[in-house]
């Protein structure tokens, strides 16, 4: 392994230049990691955490007809300390945002976030210029792995998101933090690029190829 461990300061802290997210674990076993990822992907424990309308669809997804237990993701935990998947189901407002951050920090690593519904993605119908209450997307507070569009999304959409997340966990391509790492506090919120602009650029790139 080429990665050099950063040298600790005399007070036992990493120097400021080292982002805690990029600090590699001291020991890493690849086959064991793969086995762990497989196990984790098939036993996602979501946090019981509903804010608005989407929470009802989340409950419907966990109930008898849709039954997320079939995919190992039906054990809703009431404490963030027992959960490893946060489904942000609803509108995040100014008063709720610090609490979501705190709940996310209380969850043990590795942990994943699904933004369920338009409000959690970008503010949804509450996005307007004289808005003062609604945070325009939970991505400004916590790192999000899967975005599920809809207002609210159908339970099938949530199931699809869980399956997609499982695939990504198995492939090791999620935002999950290594054990012990703390999410970096972003000073500047992530600004959304206009979706149409982004799609145009993508199309231009494709046509150039």
């Amino acid at each position: 392994m080429d990665e050099q461990l950063p040298i600790l300061n005399p007070d036992g802290q990493y120097p400021d230049s080292v982002n805690s997210e990029t600090v590699p674990p001291i020991v890493r076993f690849l086959p064991l990691q793969k086995a762990l990822d497989l196990a984790r992907a098939n036993s996602l424990w979501p946090l019981t955490f509903g804010i608005a309308c989407c929470a009802i669809e989340m409950m419907a997804a966990s109930a008898s007809r849709y039954d997320t237990d079939r995919f190992g993701a039906g054990v809703f935990r009431n404490s963030p300390r027992q959960a490893d998947l946060m489904i942000v189901a609803g509108t995040v407002n100014l008063k709720m945002a610090p609490i979501i951050k705190r709940l996310y920090d209380q969850m043990p690593s590795p942990k994943w976030v699904i933004a369920l519904g338009s409000c959690a993605i970008c503010g949804g119908p509450f996005e307007q210029e004289d808005n003062y209450a609604v945070v325009q997307g939970v991505e400004k507070i916590v790192p999000v792995d899967i975005f599920v569009p809809g207002c609210p999304p159908r339970p099938e959409a949530l199931i699809h998101a869980i399956l997609e997340l499982q695939e990504r966990i198995k492939a090791g391509t999620t935002h999950a933090l290594e054990p012990g790492a703390v999410a970096p506090v972003t000073e500047q919120p992530v600004e959304f690029v206009d979706l149409i602009e982004r799609l145009k650029k993508q199309a231009q790139r494709k046509s150039a190829q």
Binding site: L47, T48, F49, G50, I51, A52, C53, A55, I56, E57, M59, A60, A63, S64, R65, N78, P80, G90, T91, N93, L94, K95, M96, A97, P98, I99, K101, R102, L103, P125, F126, Q128, E129, D130, N131, Y132, A133, V134, V135, Q136, K140, I141, C151, P152, R154, V185, P189
Partner: protein
Amino acid sequence: MDAVVSPQTLHAAAKVLKAEHFALDAGIGVDRQPELEVLYLFKQFSDGARVRLRIRTDRELATLPTLATTYAGAEWYEREIIDMFGITFTDHPHPRPLLLPHYTSFHPLRKDFHGAPIVIPDDTIGIPEIDIQEALKQGHVAGSRSDFFLNMGPQHPSTHGVLRILLHVEGETVLGGRCHLGYSHRGTEKLAEKKQYVQFLPYTDRMDYLSPLNYNWGYAKILERATGIEPTPRAEVIRVIMAELARVASHLVWLGTYLLDLGAITPFLYTFEDREQILTIFERATGQRMTTSYIVAGGVRNDLYGTFVTEVSDLLKKLYKRLPEYEDLVMGNEIF
């Protein structure tokens, strides 16, 4: 009766109303540029008489006497007005924000307010300074007594939604509690100021997402009364059927989750399956499971589909059979 009273005579007027057994229905702030107005609605339950009292204040001064000394229920309405209009109520027992965080300094429902940048501080939970001051005033100095403050919510399995209660407990006995609201405040009133009447309809779905059709109906009724539109008898019947189905679906959610709080998981699975059957009918009729926007001013958005009547009557027969089953499942359960 609608009366504009001066701030000095508010208390005398309220005392007269109280002696006549009027209950306080609501307290509403209005920005009547340039003046600010507070509107109190009173209702007499015995014969349905209604009284409106309006008091007005200067925009710069924005100070009014409180009604909370006569009607204790006015406390929260006035706290909301403190948030939204920045009016100071003299002698108010707990003059602090109700819906907005305590560190904000804007007043959104004033007409000259045009949005504020969303700044999220690192950590604002914890016991607000004002509560600590109050505890100290009551003699609850740390270490001197066995009671303490405990935070419950807003993420708590039994709050169903986001309610935060600051509990005052002694051992396992709850001595008191102070509710903190506003964790799902979305500023819908402010958004409505910039929308056209028809554009606002989808927001009514999201106000009560468990029975959106009833909220659609309430909003459509207001528009109809204001514009003088009469819905057709057929539309009126469709509205009643759909709103009743929505009500049943809403009660099923209540039953399931209420028992879930008591530790019974099984009834939740049964009630949600029944609810799914109602939602299937909604989806066929309106195109959406929850946020229907189906009842519009003047009628309903589209007519019902062919097999609607047979499907609903089949479903109702099934639900009637379910009711004794639910009772048996809960009341007949030894654990319960």
